[in-house]
Amino acid sequence: MRKWIGATAAVSALALVTACSSEGASDGPSDGDGGGNGETVTLEFAQWWEPELPEGVLRGLMDDFEEANPGIEVELLSGPYASTREQVVAGAASGTMSDVVGLDGAWVSDFVDQGSIADLTALMSDAGYDDGELASQVQLGGSTYMIPVVNFAYMLFTNDGLLAEAGVDAAPSTRSEFEAAAIAVSESDENTSGWILPLSLETPNGIQNDVMSWAWASGGSMLTDDGAPDVNNADVQSAVDFVVGLDEAGAVAPGAATLKEQDKVEEFSSGRVGMMISSLAHINTLRESSPDLDFSLHAVPAEDGYSGERGTPYASWGIGVAENSENKEEAWKLVEFLMSADANGELANAANAFPGNSTAVPEFVTQDEIFQSAFDVWNEGYPANEFVGLPVAEQLMRDMAEELQRVLNGDISVEDALTATQTKWESQF
């Protein structure tokens, strides 16, 4: 019996040893791959896109890819968007990262630091790929790590019914027009607000889409020319002042501090908010949930008198390849396929997003008036999202959101908040 206990102890110890060696194993091959010796190669493609798209679209594209590339099979691994990042980090740490991964621009810098995603510039040159058709690439230190597959532009949505009731006949194009319209809508009915500002700390992307967009729309920037933080400059200050002014005028929907992007859309869709800055992905959500809603899309208003190009904020479904993938060559083929004009156009079409291939023109743009006007706005301005590629981008947004919440709570001034944000950001860079 004691022997038996001894044996158990030995087994446990052994388990401990194997466990501790897990770190050593992390640079080993990811399992589940077929291995590259002429047999069928199975690529794992981890993303959150499949549940976002109409059923079967992504799988259909993968079938097309498999047909065009005999010997390569693609396994789609889909997860919820909110947890994708943790999964990629954990997967990279234990060597089980999928060969091809969906990425958000805000994550890229951290994954590059971790050494978990591969240098795509090298893969492109190995494959002899001409990147002329790529609308954009996310680069760090001169190498590409992520390619935006499709882009979701953020624009001003106006509930034209509510605006008309409040006596506003034209969509605002400048900040002062916007402020006047927002106040008018708020005053027209006690249950409506002019604008909605999601500042949740869980997903602080409201800072990017709903706050910084005001600065970008007027040509402002939150970074210095060499990419260091410069968040307390005059452009950003005036944008934040404007946002805070809207709140003080009672034109912002209550509960900002816990609202998320999804809540913003629910409020707009329920007809309680006159205007919001939101993703084109929401056009279909709104049409489905509120078929009677009369809304239109416009560029984000600029400072009065500004006549330059307007930056349009966007979020991307980006793609990257795992550094520890054994099948980088095949993985690149999948990336290349998704970026080809046909496949990219089809994906963009299904996602209601703008294609990452600059030659692709998705059908919905030519067939739908609202999308047509959005596409025009997109083409007139320039894509602006300064958070893409920054280190710990999400934490930067969260830092700023927290300071902005203090301002809205009446604790500190805008100037102090931006100075505090600047200090926090400097320590993160």
């Binding site: 466990a19 770190e23 194993a25 997860g79 234990s94 089980t96 999804q262 869709s269 992905a281």
Partner: protein, 298 residues
């Protein structure tokens, strides 16, 4: 509310208690109790009623103001969508299979450990006790990465045993502590009697202690089941493909990047809770009526 009032305003003259009075007083008490239970039930039930109501609404009307319990467009579409989707049904199967296995195995392992803690003194008992309690105090989120590595190395990644063993680790400490407590309330004479008849501690445990501890085991089992049923973070991280995943992940998959599928989310949690509720209704008879342990207690 009104029931409470009537019971309070009932006549309270001082009289010699007769049989009729006793019966009347008992009836009054009963009405008061039922009233209190009904009012109290609003606390757990109202949010659930709202969940149920939302599951029948079209997504566009879930956030309407002023809110209504039943709106136009009332439909079972959300339920149909879930019940006809094989992937989602698989989530339900996985959840039941995993939670069920965890419950049975945790109870088995915990009963053995609790028996040792309750009936023996041995070296290191105290330290083991502290360890068993405090290992649960490490925030699971920080364990995620090393734990994930461990599971991959042990070859348990994306398998049922991976999740089952993980949940056993979560639930064991509580189960051991509670079962030790229940065993401690059972007199040692029971074991002695078995020994006199020539039985071993093993028979004493399974033939005597376990049968009369069933109510305790049911309550520990319910808890264990719930933990395994509701866990999200590890269920997601330790699995790779949707055919291994559980209901909480299925629900989370409906919370999209841009919009939530409200009615389906609500319908899925309603569907998820019904079988558990039935199971509970079945087992709850063990909470009723005197249990042997109380009777034999000194």
């Amino acid at each position: 509310m009104t029931a409470t009032k009537t019971s309070l305003s009932a006549p309270t003259q001082l009289e010699v208690p007769t049989r009729a009075h006793v019966i009347r007083a008992r009836k009054r008490k009963k009405i008061a109790l039922i009233a209190a239970l009904t009012v109290g039930a609003l606390f757990p039930a109202l949010p659930v009623v709202w969940m149920l109501s939302s599951s029948f609404k079209p997504n566009g009307l879930i956030f309407e103001y002023p809110p209504r319990l039943i709106t136009e467009g009332f439909s079972f579409d959300a339920y149909v969508a879930i019940l006809t989707d094989p992937e989602k049904l698989r989530f339900f199967f996985n959840s039941y299979f995993i939670a069920g296995s965890v419950t049975v195995l945790t109870l088995f392992v915990a009963v053995l450990a609790a028996y040792a803690f309750s009936r023996y003194d041995f070296k290191g008992k105290r330290i083991i006790n502290v360890v068993v309690i405090s290992v649960q105090a490490v925030p699971p989120i920080t364990l995620l990465i090393p734990y994930f590595g461990l599971v991959v190395v042990l070859g348990l990644y994306n398998t049922y045993p991976g999740l089952i063993l993980t949940y056993m680790v979560f639930t064991l400490p509580y189960a051991i502590i509670m079962m030790t407590g229940y065993f401690n309330t059972l007199p040692r004479e029971l074991d002695e009697a078995v020994k006199v008849d020539g039985g071993s501690p093993w028979t004493a445990l399974w033939r005597v202690l376990v049968p009369i501890s069933v109510p305790g085991m049911v309550s520990v089992g319910v808890y264990t089941f719930m933990i395994a049923w509701n866990e999200y973070l590890f269920a997601l991280t330790l699995t790779r493909t949707n055919d291994m995943r559980t209901v909480p992940i299925g629900i989370q998959l409906l919370m999209g990047q841009h919009a939530y599928d409200w009615n389906q989310m609500m319908a899925m949690s309603v569907l998820g809770c019904i079988p558990v509720l039935i199971l509970f209704l079945f087992f709850q008879r063990y909470f009723i009526g005197g249990m042997t342990a109380g009777a034999v207690k000194a």
